[in-house]
Point group: D2
Chain length 380, copies 4
């Protein structure tokens, strides 16, 4: 089959790879109908990870079941399904606690697995025609058959639940105010999810005009941090108090100005932005090892974090990759009921063959490539 | 009346000060029966704060009501009461959210007030014969009359609820394992509270033998970090996994060896100690400004925090001073029912007149002065 | 001043009564700007309670502060405020648990107090020009000055928080489905609140066409139980499964057909309607004594409740009058942010003088009288 | 193999039945080491259910793994394991919500399955030498190898988690008071669990002296309801207020006097016993159909429930069979840590061959037969 294969930094190609097959009684094989390119794929693409040549990318997958292992009880050939980017077993201690992003079974020696990602276990990515899904009863989310809502459902594998997870980590509840740092697809989903959870006001902080426009269109209040300090702008709009909750959808590659990375800047801005007793949800990525970091401590994931202020204000902060399985059913139901339409972030649909070009343009932040959905079934 | 008055660094004296009186219809005046010296009093005592000469110390107070303002509805002359160290109004946004440690009313311009503490509002301390209590209906906790459980109840103003708060911030629930860093009175109370909440195993990390002994006597597992890395010791006892939850009862004055302060060392050890998906409760003090800090960043409360590892493990961390009012009723009921006996940490009872000597010895960590209860009614 | 005074069954009049005044240091006096007639006022109006002649009605009150007692700290003359229908102290055990509907202070011998209601304490109602508010710091919710959102804010005293309380009792969370029995103002607010909390689908069960129309206009799915069994209709729309959650906004005066009361019929229908593991929120009124009940057991509040089915399905059920204070701040903020507009249920604004006529018409369920807001400042 | 087989009312025998085998890739077969007789087995034994001749009893099972299906990932031959009495799949909607007692997969057409129980699916009971366990990765709880804590672990399949579930449904938290109706094994486990969760005072209501004695020995306060009304006794001990929480560990066969069943009497007593705002946890069994009921309504599970008082007091009530899987890991850890010892309720160990005699004596409530653990490995 055809698949998007990583070759070397700044180079992927669409090659023939071996077809996936049932390896365990609990496996199914999926014909992929939609699979997205994710910002986190760029870490590998840019060569800032240990990813080796030959890895097939793709962790935001959905499709139709083609083959079913003999131990699978609930998934049938022909079912339309979405898979969380996290591969999980469903029975380890963490899965039982709904912490499926930290499964102890699927990636021995590490808490958590994923498709098509370096160090996340032996699971080939879904930017391909077919995909093997282990522990299929647990990992497949049933979708209504047909092709309605395809791009909305395509958001269920990662970014919609990841944005929602941020809102859960921050404990967003009805009537509260929320400051979201980062207006990329995940930040927009975090803001959107906060509104779905009943937030009264949501700010989205970025400096890219198109992102701020999308945020405003969706009901959030745009804050351009290149114009003035974001925390100050939000305090001004809250009588000096700050927001109730804060979300980091940026991570360690935070820049304070064009090209100038300051890895802790978003975290410390959030500490300024939220009011005493506030809570933070951090889904932007931080790494324990970053060879490209601006300094030695950052290279080990140690950042100058404003602990003094954090403590004085009595803040709390949850973090980590989303436990997609905990949310995707509910978000699916909101889509089906017409109450959520996350596909508003999709900027383009492309056949698999155009993936190499799309990666290149996305990496350069070209307009129209902020959220690409690959369609393996589309003629190139 | 007599009161413990701060004069200059390393010097307090027992002097005559003006008797407190009803200043607002919601005030009461208390005759103090027990008032403890707290580790946090030493920050002022050592001259590491902006505390000025003349301030009356004492935020861990209990006593008997002597005088009652005309607006007070539920507190009567003769009632025996305990007061949270936090002064709170009961009706601001934070008090309504049970965040009474961050009251927005009692100390204008800052979230939170306390008795006898620099920058915490105009509330004279209780290391004295009498104490004025504002918003008395809200701030007084009723105790059974008489003198039973006096030293247990004396723990209700601060350290028992503060230890309990740590367990709440860490989300300690039945069957879980908890690592507590710090075996001083607050750390012991955090460990004790974790056991009361049903923890299966609790470790107390310290290097002072007498503290480790107290921890063991009370049902915890002692970990001497001067013998070997604490995180490693705890991992060894959990099959390499780490504890479910972690508590910081040390704060910014953490030392890695005699006299060598490393302000972030306990936080980063906790990140190592707890397992992925774990939660931390931080009640050890961190400050946004610390003139005595070992380096410039620490002086502003910015510490090299292992954000990368924290995120990878998907940790969460709650922090801040305890909202005593949220817990003291329940802890009182456990004392009265005979199911909690926090006075096991009390090392000595002394008359008010001996406070200057007690401060000096406590500051030197002399044996027997780890938790002193002053008894203003005791003849010197 | 003028006030709506109960005279005898089916008769209220607007009479001169004594002006309220500051009786306690913590009181304020309010000039009433809006005060609603509530379905629960009809219980007294119809003579089905122990209410005696002379009682001033009105528990859904808002207005502007005219006079302030010397113990009040945060409320100032000229402030625009809303008062929960529950009178509460803010410092008793139940208020501290946010159960302000069950205050132990304000109505000695009973858990809970209210304005202008039989057996709910000595608090004169607000269908009048002025109103005394006790424990004003706790009971007054600050509103933006002016007259914007007046009718929306008028819903904050009772029905909006009561509807919201139903959704909280049922544990409505994002993506879930909810069946609301009763399409009167409280039922509509419960459905509206469920949607604000992110429900995917909400059904409103009634048989009055105008109510079902309002429900549909607001985003709910109307279910006419006079056409077919409501539980069956909802099961059909959920693949036979039933809804996740259920709300009773009807209470003991449930009728299965015109005029035929069956007090347990809504509760038992809900047990059929929700799926196993579901949760019910009951805010429709049930009474321990009802002289007008259809049978002896009902007269004592004992109803034939389908406990067997309830247990088999593993259901849970929360009940009781709303703790308005727990919700009104957040709901206010949603109104101010333009994200909630509860005034859609208001059917008419009238001057105080027209109250007697309005009661009569409301009691007859005349069109246009389903939710009347009295405006004491309006010329008759 | 040998197994306890139901023949006809009041008659079981130990017979040869077919050995269980791997039927699905996710199955394991267990050699049973301990399996308890449960009060709920008596419903079938007494012929009050639809159980047919030939059914093998036993849902409280533990043992050692003998054979492992090819789809099983984490369970190995030789592992010592405990199985929840609920059979569950781990991936349906209810299992994902930790509601494993209401699994939608294992017993088509009904929410919930169990071993060896009428209408609970095709799962043969474990009062036998061997047992087939489906979905083994999910249903097997790992235990330390060997035979330590055998009888404590034997309580993990049902009654310890069921008692704990009652405390969870009632929301028992530290410092609260709890009234438990029923001093049989489940009631004792509910009281014990409440204390483990930090309750300050727990009452156990019964009239059998030996049960009340066990309750007292374990730290609860015995209440003999044959001496005086239980609710009144508990109110007297709480200053007239009532307990914070209440637990029903009796169910529909509640008797108010020797032999006189009043199915709703415990529920209505609980409504009297708990204070306003209280919560009830109901794990005593109620059935939607009971042919032996004292009246027609009870026969359909409809009981005269004091809804009026329930609502006036603002109570909440959770119910249903325990989701054992949600608790058994934590309770196991408390046993291993030496902090829980639930085997105090075990009255006798017997070889399988003595099961017929044990059933007979247990059914007659003979002393020493209140909790029998059968040991299939024990020579008769």
């Amino acid at each position: 089959m055809k698949a998007v294969v990583y070759r070397e930094p700044f180079s992927v190609e669409v090659s023939d790879v071996e077809d996936p097959s049932i390896q365990d009684p609990n496996d199914v094989v999926i014909r992929v109908t939609s699979t997205c390119i994710c910002g986190s794929d760029l870490h590998m693409y840019e060569g800032r990870t240990a990813a080796e040549s030959g890895i097939v990318f793709g962790h935001e997958n959905m499709g139709v079941v083609e083959e079913v292992g003999p131990g699978v009880a609930s998934v049938k050939k022909g079912d339309r399904v979405s898979m969380p980017f996290n591969v999980a077993c469903g029975f380890c201690k963490n899965c039982l606690n709904n912490k499926t992003g930290f499964c102890l079974t699927v990636n021995p020696g590490f808490a958590g697995g994923a498709y098509g990602y370096v160090s996340m276990g032996p699971y080939t990515g879904g930017q391909a025609e077919y995909l093997r899904v282990p522990f299929a009863d647990f990992n497949c989310l049933q979708l209504p058959k047909g092709d309605e809502f395809e791009n909305d459902f395509a958001m269920l594998a990662d970014i919609f639940p990841t944005g929602y997870h941020a809102a859960v980590l921050a404990g967003v509840s009805p009537g509260e105010t929320v400051a979201v740092y980062g207006g990329g697809p995940v930040g927009l989903m975090a803001a959107y999810s906060s509104l779905l959870r009943g937030a009264s006001k949501v700010w989205v902080v970025d400096r890219v005009a198109s992102r701020l426009q999308l945020a405003e269109d969706m009901g959030a209040i745009p804050v351009d941090f290149s114009k003035a300090d974001a925390a100050e702008q939000i305090k001004e709009q809250t009588g000096g108090e700050g927001s109730d909750k804060g979300i980091d959808a940026v991570g360690y590659q935070a820049t304070v100005a064009e090209g100038e990375e300051q890895p802790a800047s978003v975290l410390n801005s959030l500490i300024e932005t939220v009011r005493p007793t506030g809570r933070l949800g951090v889904v932007g990525l931080y790494l324990p090892a970053d060879p490209g970091a601006p300094d030695e401590n950052s290279a080990e994931g140690k950042l100058l974090f404003n602990v003094g202020k954090y403590f004085e204000k009595g803040l709390a902060m949850g973090s980590g990759q989303a436990d997609v399985k905990s949310y995707n059913r509910y978000l699916r139901d909101l889509i089906v009921a017409g109450r959520a339409k996350p596909s508003f972030v999709v900027s383009k649909e492309l056949p698999l063959a155009e993936a190499p070009d799309a990666y290149q343009r996305f990496d350069k932040r070209e307009d129209g490539y902020s959220k690409v959905v690959l369609k393996p079934g589309l003629a190139a």
